[in-house]
């Protein structure tokens, strides 16, 4: 697919140069010169976004629809993107909204785990390494509520910073930290038997 890129471009961008360009630079070219360069954005993000959406909805066709619809919405609203911001946070935000719309449409019951007692202040990273936590997150992320699993997957699987997660979920940074800590505590309680 990437090999086809040369055909899409009307402007003089070599493949090597294209790789060096940041997302924001590509967005500016798409907006002003060559809309077909949007392909590069799709290639860069589709794998990550599919993985992110899959951690939120376990229905593959719905995941694909949500990601495809997100790319379309992102293209339509590309002129609203502020180049001073991070493009990755912006497109993750669009996927987040799309997934939430899917939830609302299907009235899917999210697991509510309010009865679980957890200690949010405990630093689980002292007990587990980041890699161990990543493995656990991959295994049992679907067992905890989306409210907590989403920031957790963004942090450990998508490797986003607290600031970026705050921009994606539109939550204060402190709330992001609290939710991640709670999610880790929940995960330790719920997923300890999953190996």
């Amino acid at each position: 697919m990437r090999a086809c890129l040369g055909r899409y471009n009307n402007i003089d961008i070599k493949m090597k140069d294209l790789k060096k360009l940041t997302d924001e630079q590509i967005v500016e070219i798409v907006r002003t010169k060559d809309k077909e360069l949007y392909l590069e954005i799709v290639i860069r993000y589709q794998k990550k976004l599919l993985r992110y959406a899959e951690n939120l909805i376990q229905d593959k066709p719905k995941v694909e629809d949500a990601v495809q619809e997100s790319f379309i919405k992102a293209f339509i609203n590309l002129n609203s993107f502020d180049l001073k911001m991070k493009f990755s946070s912006w497109i993750y935000r669009i996927v987040h909204n799309q997934v939430m719309n899917t939830f609302n449409k299907n009235k899917r019951e999210m697991p509510l785990l309010d009865n679980i007692d957890f200690d949010s202040g405990h630093n689980l990273e002292l007990d587990m390494s980041k890699k161990e936590i990543q493995e656990r997150v991959n295994k049992c992320i679907n067992k905890i509520s989306v409210m907590y699993s989403e920031p957790l997957s963004l942090y450990y699987i998508e490797e986003k910073s607290y600031e970026e997660i705050s921009d994606i979920l539109r939550l204060p940074v402190g709330t992001v930290g609290t939710r991640i800590n709670r999610a880790k505590a929940m995960m330790k309680k719920i997923c300890q038997n999953i190996k």
Binding site: M1, Y8, R31, K35, E36, Y38, L39, V42, I43, Q46, K47, L50, K60, E64, V67, Q68, F71, I72, F75, I76, N77, L78, N79, S80, S166, R170, L171, P172, V173
Partner: protein, 169 residues
């Protein structure tokens, strides 16, 4: 690259190439932001004015004595506090749409917004601006309508009942 990833790429790019989907122009978003900003400012001004009207109406009717109770009930602008509550909720919703709102403590923003509207409305009353507006300005008629000392309403009642016709002729 897996099949569904290629499908997504193909579907999205074909829609772009065949112009089934088009980018919205920049002015569309500027206009949207501008309209939202104007709506918020307009809402704040309206709310301040209504809070001032409520405090003015309460003050001009004097203490809530039994004699004046009926008068305040009949002439109080009950629609105003309803609009204030609806306006505050709309204002908070508009504020939430602004990008900065999640970076600050949202409860604090809501508290500042409500306090600013209420304080400004009360300040207008305390500083006596409404007393100026009752005499002149575009809001003159509006304030006169809810002025407890206004005799027009009383006069109309007497005239309509026929008892005061001779006196007012």
């Amino acid at each position: 690259m897996s099949k569904h990833q290629i499908d997504i790429t193909k579907k999205v790019m074909s829609k772009i190439k065949t112009e089934q989907i088009k980018m919205k122009p920049k002015w569309y978003f500027w206009l949207g932001s501008f309209a939202m900003f104007i709506a918020l400012i307009g809402l704040i001004v309206t709310l301040i004015f209504l809070v001032s009207l409520i405090t003015f109406s309460l003050r001009s009717h004097g203490p809530m004595g039994a004699v004046r109770y009926q008068q305040i009930i009949s002439s109080f602008p009950w629609w105003a506090p309803i609009i204030v509550v609806v306006g505050l909720i709309t204002g908070i919703t508009l504020l939430k749409k602004y990008d900065f709102s999640y970076k600050k403590n949202f409860l604090f923003i809501v508290f500042i917004f409500i306090s600013a509207v209420l304080l400004s409305g009360i300040l207008i009353d305390v500083l006596g601006f409404d007393n100026l507006w009752i005499k002149r300005g575009p809001m003159r008629r509006f304030y006169q309508q809810y002025n407890g000392d206004n005799k027009q309403e009383l006069n109309n009642t007497i005239l309509n009942s026929g008892r005061g016709k001779r006196h007012f002729q």
